[in-house]
C-alpha cells in the first residue's frame, strides 16, 4: 500500500500520541484524527510487532515521530548509532513531522534518560544550534525542537527561555514544537508570565503544539503527561492558536494511560478550539 499513505497533516484536526495499550482499540475504531505521534525510540528495533503496527497506522494516518533520546544539548557528540536508527525510521515511514527536545539526556556516555534543562547561555545556544544542524544534515530535512518542562534553573542562564527557544529556531533553521503545557508548568515553577513566552515566539516558527496534563504536588508542578489538560493550559492554548493560526496539535498522555475515548475527548476539545479560534485559516 506504499504510495497511498496520507502525507500532509490536516491542521484543523488534533492528533494523539499513539501508545501500545491503545493499538487494538485504535484499529477497531479508526477515529478521525489529524495525525498520530509515536516515540521514535520505541520503533528502533529491527523488526517484530511494533513496526508491523506502525505500518498499519501509517497507511491510515499522517505520522509524527517524536524523539526522547538524542540528547541534543549534551556536550557529548551525537550518538551516530542512535542517529542512524532515527534515519532508518524516518526513511521507512516518511513522517510529516520529526521532532526532538531542547535538552540533554546524558553526558560522558552515561544517561539519565530524563529530559534535563540547559543553562540558557550564548555558548549553550551555539552548541544546540550546531547539533540541530548536524541532525538536519543527516536526515536531509527540517526537524522540530520542543521546549521542555523544568524543575530547576541554572544561575549561569543569561537568556530568558523564550528568547533561547526563538533564537534556536531562527539560527538553526528548525521549527519549534511548542509544548503549551510545559510553558505553563515552567511559568508556575519559575514565576514568569506564560503569555509573554508565547508572544516572544515568532509566528510561522511553530510547526506543532503539544498539550498534556501535569501534577501539582503542592511544592512544584510535575509534567507527568498523566492527566487531562488543565483549564489554564486550555486558555493558554487558545491564545497560542490565535497568535500562530491552526498549528497541528497533539494530546500527549504517557502515564496512567486512560481509555481511548478519554484521549479522543481531549483531542476533540483541541479540534473545537482550532476550528473556533483559527477560523479555517491554516498557519
Amino acid at each position: 500500500m506504499t504510495g497511498q499513505r496520507p502525507a500532509a497533516i490536516e491542521p484543523m484536526l488534533a492528533g494523539i500520541g499513539l501508545r501500545s495499550p491503545h493499538y487494538r482499540d485504535m484499529q477497531a475504531l479508526a477515529p478521525a484524527l489529524g495525525f498520530l505521534e509515536v516515540h521514535s525510540e520505541n520503533f528502533f528495533g529491527d523488526g517484530g510487532q511494533p513496526l508491523a503496527y506502525l505500518e498499519w497506522f501509517r497507511e491510515r494516518y499522517p505520522l509524527s515521530t517524536h524523539g526522547v533520546g538524542l540528547s541534543l544539548g549534551s556536550v557529548d557528540p551525537l550518538d551516530d548509532t542512535h542517529l542512524q536508527k532515527l534515519k532508518r525510521l524516518v526513511d521507512r515511514f516518511e513522517p510529516a513531522l520529526v521532532s526532538e527536545h531542547l535538552c540533554w539526556v546524558g553526558v560522558n556516555g552515561e544517561f539519565t534518560n530524563d529530559l534535563l534543562p540547559m543553562p540558557y547561555t550564548p555558548a549553550a545556544l551555539a552548541h544546540v544550534v550546531a547539533k540541530v544542524g548536524q541532525v538536519q544534515d543527516c536526515l536531509q530535512r527540517q526537524i522540530l525542537v520542543e521546549n521542555v518542562s523544568s524543575y530547576l534553573q541554572f544561575k549561569s542562564s543569561t537568556i530568558p527561555e523564550w528568547d533561547f527557544v526563538a533564537s534556536l529556531a531562527s539560527q538553526a533553521g528548525c521549527q519549534i514544537l511548542l509544548d503549551v503545557n510545559n510553558i505553563y508548568v515552567n511559568s508556575r515553577n519559575h514565576q514568569f508570565d506564560a503569555y509573554r513566552y508565547i508572544d516572544a515566539i515568532a509566528t510561522g516558527s511553530v510547526g506543532e503544539i503539544h498539550l498534556a496534563g501535569f501534577q501539582d504536588t503542592g511544592e512544584i508542578l510535575i509534567d507527568t503527561h498523566g492527566d487531562r489538560v488543565s483549564a489554564a493550559v486550555w486558555a493558554l492554548y487558545e491564545h497560542a492558536i490565535s497568535r500562530f493560526g491552526a498549528v497541528p496539535t497533539l494530546i500527549e498522555w504517557d502515564t496512567d494511560i486512560p481509555a481511548l475515548d478519554v484521549l479522543l475527548g481531549e483531542a476533540g476539545r483541541a479540534t473545537s478550539i482550532l476550528q473556533a479560534t483559527a477560523g479555517g485559516h491554516a498557519a
Binding site: G69, G106, F111, P119
Partner: protein
Amino acid sequence: MRPDLFTIQTQLKRALLSRTSTAAHTGIASEIVEGTLSAQRRIAIYRHNVFTNLCNALSDLYPVVKRIVGEVFFTEAAHSFITQIPSRAGDLNQFGREFGPFLRHYPHASDLPYLAEVATLEWQWHTVFHAADAAPLDLARLASIPADQMGAIVFALHPAVTLLSSPYPLLQIWQVNQPEYADDWQIDWDAPAVHLVVYRREFEVRIQQLTGGEHIFLQSAAAGLPLEQAWQAAIAQSPEFNLHGFIGDCVQSHIINNVEPAVLPAACR
C-alpha cells in the same frame, strides 16, 4: 566565573545517578537557583524522576523476576543496578541488558541462584520480540538439493531465535509466574538441566523446551556447521534424536528459515 556546559552536565548527571545527595554534590547545588525550593530539593525531584523512569523500564523488561522477589526487593535491586551499571544510551530500550549478570553477583539474591537465569531468559524475550523479520524457508529450495549433497548443507536460524541452557527448571519457573497462570505453584527443583529455544510466531514470543540433542543441533546450525556434523553431535548427545521430525518442526515454526550449501568453512563465509 560560572562553570561551562561540560562541568554543569557532568556534575548534575553524577548527582542524579547517585542514590542520595552527598557532599560531592554541593558544587552543582551552588549553580542552581533556589527560589521557593532549595537546590538539593530540586535535584531530589529530578533524581526521583530518573530512578522511577529507569526502574519502570526494568519492571517492564523483567516481570517474572519482579513477581518472584516482590515489589520492594525488586525496586531495591533496580536502584542498586541503576547506580552500578548506568544506562549507556539515550534509547531506553537498550537499558537493562546486564541485569541478569548483576543479579548473579547481587548479595541479597544469593539464596535465589536461578534469579539471574530468569533475567537472562527475559532479556532474550525482549531481543527476540524486537529482532528482524525474515521470510520462512522456501521448501522448493530445500527440495532442489541433491540427496548426495544434503550432508553438506547448513541450516540458518531465523534472526528472532535464541538458545539458552540452564541447570534450573527455567520454563516451569517462567510458566508459574505468568499473570494468567492459575494452577498450583509447583516446581520440580530436581528436574534435570533444561535447554530452551526462544522464538517468534505471528509476532508472539514463544519459549519451547528442547532435548539436549535438539539443542546441540540448533547450536551447531547457528555456528555454521554442516548438517552431517550437526546431526552427529545431536545423536552423540541424544541417541533418540529424530532428524527429519525435528527439522520439519523447526521449518514449520520458522526457527529454521534458510538453507545454504556449505562450500566454505564457517569462518570464511
